[in-house]
């Protein structure tokens, strides 16, 4: 069981093809698999569909794949803060399937658990419910949402051992575990790979069974909205 690869390009070798569905972790620019996104850009693979909560900003995150027109569809809950995205969308060059954020997370989790569909109250009576099966349970109406089964998952964690058992850090966990679970193959990038036995088994956030390939690398970890308070007002 050899999961560790030298870099993002090698870790993605043989996994990329045009027209594929990729589930990506991250919320805004927090916890995004920035090294793998760059390698996907370099590969030139195109007509991609991304299941990802956001679309990055113009020059970081999935935004770099929008600039090169490698993305044809986004399944997301919020795509503000990205001018190129808006331009391509309004020009009809990019398709967007809006998912409520919890629906998107649960669709990934469900896919990863072998659950093809589930019912939720979220979106009932809105555009999101149009064309979906409605069903009443205990006098309340729910809509059916489908699990996401991605061709590939790309995610980022803080630390992993050599078998892929991993730990996330603070709010950088976000969509990474459900995104990791829903792909046929999952490639994970981390800030540090540690020897097996180093991490406390009780503290593992995502067990290595979900991680097929692993790389370690330097991360820029860009901040999208730097907000501070001054010591005087505290």
């Amino acid at each position: 069981m050899k999961k560790i690869f030298a870099n993002a390009t090698e870790a993605l070798d043989g996994l990329l093809h045009d027209d594929m569905l990729i589930a990506a972790g991250g919320f805004g620019l927090c916890g995004i698999p920035e090294l793998l996104l760059q390698a996907i850009k370099d590969s030139g693979v195109k007509n991609l569909t991304f299941a990802s909560n956001n679309a990055g900003v113009d020059d970081f995150g999935i935004g770099i794949l929008l600039q090169t027109r490698q993305v044809s569809k986004m399944m997301s809950s919020y795509v503000g803060e990205n001018d190129e995205f808006m331009r391509q969308y309004l020009a009809g060059e990019l398709e967007i399937e809006f998912n409520p954020q919890g629906t998107l997370a649960e669709r990934m989790r469900a896919g990863g658990c072998g659950i093809p569909g589930f019912y939720t109250k979220t979106g009932v009576g809105t555009q999101v419910a149009e064309g979906k099966e409605h069903k009443d349970f205990n006098g309340e109406t729910y809509i059916m949402e489908e699990g996401i089964f991605a061709d590939l998952s790309i995610v980022k964690a803080w630390k992993a051992d050599e078998t892929g058992n991993c730990i996330f850090r603070k709010t950088a966990r976000n969509f990474n575990p459900p995104a990791a679970m829903c792909g046929k193959v999952c490639v994970m990038e981390v800030e540090e790979i540690v020897p097996v036995g180093t991490l406390d088994p009780d503290h593992i956030h995502l067990p290595g069974i979900y991680v097929n390939r692993l790389i370690q690398g330097e991360h820029e970890k860009r901040i999208e909205q730097r907000t501070v308070r001054s010591k005087e007002t505290a």
Partner: protein, 207 residues
């Protein structure tokens, strides 16, 4: 005098009770955190955190620690982190007592529109649809009228809905209105604002 942004937030904070887990939306709702006083309130940030602290001091920002508005924040002693599926699991599972949100329009039956203006603003609903469908109580904080002076409290929403019949209480710059079976009921007026002034600024049925 109508309430200003901070006074609206202060009024909204009075709706919160000791021990509540609460989700605050972006904008005026964020200010509510400044007015909870001695009440033991735990704030949820739907990107995966309970126990959200204030903004960091300059130089102490952490790119791994942001709120749902993507702003840098801090943790507290009680903080817990979790993934997005669990975060929305607790929202959908009814564990969050209340959400305080902004709105573009609210209808007299509690319909809420706050995520999209067709042809103009197409950014997405984020977690708003999950919150209004799942939390115990939905409190809207917004200006009573838009910049053209038109009522934002309507008989029916004109914009795409975020949720149907989901709003429980509306706090505007003019007063507080409860969503009841047959329309909106004025609970309170801002200082020196009369019920007649609220009526004149409201399209929705008042009961």
């Amino acid at each position: 005098m109508p309430w200003d942004r901070n006074q609206m937030a202060e009024r909204a904070a009075r709706e919160l009770e000791d021990g509540m887990y609460v989700n605050l939306g972006i904008g005026i709702p964020t200010l509510v955190a400044n007015y909870v006083g001695d009440k033991d309130i735990t704030l949820q940030s739907e990107n995966g955190m309970l126990g959200m602290g204030p903004f960091p001091f300059e130089g102490e920002e952490d790119p791994d620690l942001i709120n749902a508005g993507k702003q840098t924040i801090t943790e507290m002693d009680r903080t817990a982190y979790f993934d997005s599926a669990q975060s929305f699991g607790m929202i959908r599972g009814g564990k969050i007592a209340a959400a305080i949100l902004g709105a573009m329009e609210v209808a007299e039956n509690g319909d809420l529109a706050n995520w999209m203006i067709p042809g103009k603003l197409v950014k997405g609903m984020g977690g708003a649809m999950d919150l209004v469908a799942g939390v115990g109580r939905v409190i809207v904080v917004m200006d009573h009228t838009n910049k053209h002076g038109d009522s934002k409290l309507l008989k029916e929403c004109t914009l795409p809905l975020t949720g149907k019949g989901v709003v429980d209480l509306i706090i505007t710059n003019l007063g507080v209105l409860d969503v009841q079976t047959n329309g909106l009921h004025i609970v309170e007026t801002a200082p020196d604002v009369t019920e007649d002034e609220i009526r004149a600024a409201t399209e929705a049925t008042l009961v």
